[in-house]
Amino acid sequence: MLTFKHGTIEIVVDEDGFMQEPEKWNEDVAKALATTEGVEELTPDHWKLVHYLRNYFLQFGVAPMIRKLCKETGFDLKKVYALFPSGPAKGACKVAGLAKPTGCV
């Protein structure tokens, strides 16, 4: 088990730093995880994306299709990468406490 520590935050993560216990996610955890993605400050646009992902995950149990994410947040892929440099799956989903998708993806 790998543990990620940041300030008072202490969470179990996988080798790439994705949360292993997504139910323990909260906004402070998101801020801590964002530092591993080179995002020092979460702006309202960051939060819009993170909350969209979080709510989708709570409803559907997985990450959304990227095309759907873009359509429903109104952010194009370029904007998503500008917010989270490692992209929607590796960056934004990590900060929102989602698991890493596996398989033919």
């Binding site: 080798e15 149990g61 997985v62 398989g103």
Partner: protein, 539 residues
């Protein structure tokens, strides 16, 4: 991992190292980027697989069961009894070396243990020691090795550095199927809890929800509904797929990435358009929601366990036959294992195309037809109205996916579809296509990011051929019929040939298909402007 530049990656040293090949030691820290993370304990526990624990290949102690040597020995003995092919493959190799330079991982890495002959020898040497008289008596002189912890670690490294693509087998004068040797080696490794998470997590998800991604029924429906909306935006036609509908004529099974990931979703949209055009009486299933089967990369028992749902769901839904989508390794399972593992499916009927009346004789036993066979038959019978100019913004080449090409012989059908749908189709060199096709470098569960350096190395021969066809013919899109390909080739060309994109075959068919009642098309299924429509399209 420090990322290597292209110039660093192409400096491949083919001179064999001075070290004896029997020396198994591997520095896993130095070789980061060429191995995959181990299977997570939670997934092994979920599946009831042996030895769930936290470990890393970089640890000195891999936390094996105390009697691990006995477990491997007994496991090999059992398999030698069960699979005659294994014994034949282990006994007949004369080490002629015809396979040596046919493996994409050897070509891209220069590591001699990626020569298929030597990779197999890693297992064969232990077989000699434990199961042949010469090996027992003469030891290393007869090419025999003791199974030490270092040898086991070497197995883990190299048998998860084979994509089971079977290109080497095409060139073997004895027809030795090295993929089967890798499959058995991985089975043995699994017995002591050595596996990789990129395989084991999809297996666990598949066992739980029916698909690799862990998509539940309500999510499945939501994804399909979204793609239906997208299609309506592009074409003005609202298609009406059904899910879990009893009494449909056929059940259509796809790889889950087709209703989740770019660019597979556009292929899925192509399927839906085609079926709507034909008025096909079909259903999707939220349970048989994965054609792929990572059991193939785990063990025979796991293949059977994950494949069971296909016939089970066909029986429950009372369909007559099965149609399958553009997935690669799925077809090795459907074509070569499903019937004997989970059949006979005598409650189904031999597949007959309801549109052309063609009887798919070759599928009379499995009852499952490949979508490219189905569509090629429609085209041959003149049943589709296609406007090729709607793919004129694309100059297309075709990557034969390993399993459909070499395990099933699907060589002509996708080309029939592509040539009917596109004006500009160009082939890569002949020693890189059809049965000689080069692997994407990320099949058999190796398509993860931590293994990226090895993927880019293994994919280099394919990328090199793509570079050639791009420079010679201006190709800007490579079509393929495999979901792993669509994921891994995307990363591969982004690195080696960024001018070229990746698509499925039925995406291009969907672009060209002239739907009754459609609105004038300005974009393709991705929303990109068609040729001549660059200023018009609402992108």
């Amino acid at each position: 991992m420090t990322e290597k530049t292209q110039q660093e990656l192409v400096q491949i040293d083919y001179a064999p190292p001075a070290r004896d090949w029997m020396d198994p030691r591997i520095d896993f820290v130095a070789r980061r980027g060429s191995w995959s993370y181990p299977g997570a304990a939670k997934n092994l526990r979920y599946l009831g697989f042996p030895n769930p624990r936290d470990w890393s290949p970089e640890d000195a102690d891999w936390k094996l069961p105390p009697n691990w040597q006995q477990i491997i020995h007994d496991g090999l003995a059992e398999r030698l009894g069960k699979y005659r092919s294994l014994k034949v493959f282990l006994d007949t190799c004369v080490r002629c070396g015809a396979c040596a330079d046919k493996c994409h991982f050897f070509l891209g890495s220069g590591d001699p243990k990626n020569m298929p002959v030597l990779r197999a020898e890693l297992l064969r040497s232990v077989y000699r020691k434990d199961f042949t008289t010469a090996g027992r008596i003469l030891g290393s002189i007869a090419g025999a090795r003791e199974l030490t912890p270092e040898v086991l670690k070497e197995w883990f490294y190299y048998f998860f550095q084979c994509t089971e693509c079977r290109r080497c087998s095409v060139f073997c004068p004895y027809g030795i199927d090295t993929a089967e040797i890798t499959m058995i080696a991985r089975e043995l490794l699994n017995l002591v809890g050595l596996n990789i998470n990129w395989v084991i997590e999809p297996v666990a998800n598949c066992d739980r929800t029916g698909n690799h991604l862990g998509i539940q029924p309500h999510t499945f429906k939501d994804n399909v509904d979204f793609l239906v909306d997208e299609l309506a935006d592009v074409t003005g036609v609202r298609v009406e797929p059904s899910i879990n509908r009893k009494g449909a004529e056929l059940l259509f099974v796809v790889p889950s990435a087709d209703y989740f990931a770019d660019p597979g979703i556009y292929t899925f949209m192509g399927y839906l358009l085609l079926f709507h055009y034909l008025g096909l009486d079909y259903t999707l299933s939220a349970y048989a929601s994965e054609g792929g089967n990572f059991g193939l990369f785990t063990s025979h028992d796991t293949i059977k366990r994950l494949n069971y749902k296909i016939y089970h769901e066909a029986r429950r839904l009372k369909v007559k036959w099965l149609l399958g989508g553009e997935c690669g390794h799925m077809w090795r399972v459907m074509h070569q294992y499903m019937d004997t593992m989970n059949g006979p499916a005598d409650f189904l009927e031999a597949p007959v195309s309801p549109v052309t009346g063609t009887r798919f004789e070759h599928a009379a036993s499995t009852k499952m037809v490949h979508i490219c066979e189905f569509t090629a038959d429609l085209i041959r019978n003149g049943k589709l109205k296609l406007d090729k100019t709607r793919n004129d913004h694309r100059r297309v080449t075709f990557h034969d996916s390993c399993n459909p090409a070499r395990a099933m012989g699907i060589l002509e059908e996708p080309r029939i579809v592509l040539n009917a749908a596109c004006n500009h189709v160009f082939e890569m060199p002949e020693n890189t296509i059809r049965e000689q096709t080069f692997c994407c470098g990320g099949g058999a569960g190796l398509g993860n990011d931590e293994n990226l350096e090895m993927r880019l190395r293994g994919g280099l021969p394919r990328a090199n051929a793509v570079r050639w066809v791009h420079e010679k013919h201006g190709v800007n899109l490579m079509a393929c019929i495999c979901a792993i390909d669509r994921a891994t080739l995307t990363a591969l060309v982004e690195y080696w040939v960024p001018e070229v994109g990746i698509s499925g075959v039925h995406e291009l068919l969907g672009n060209a298909l002239v739907m009754p009642g459609e609105k004038p098309r300005t974009t393709d299924l991705r929303g990109l402007p068609l040729a001549g429509m660059e200023g018009v399209a609402d992108v």
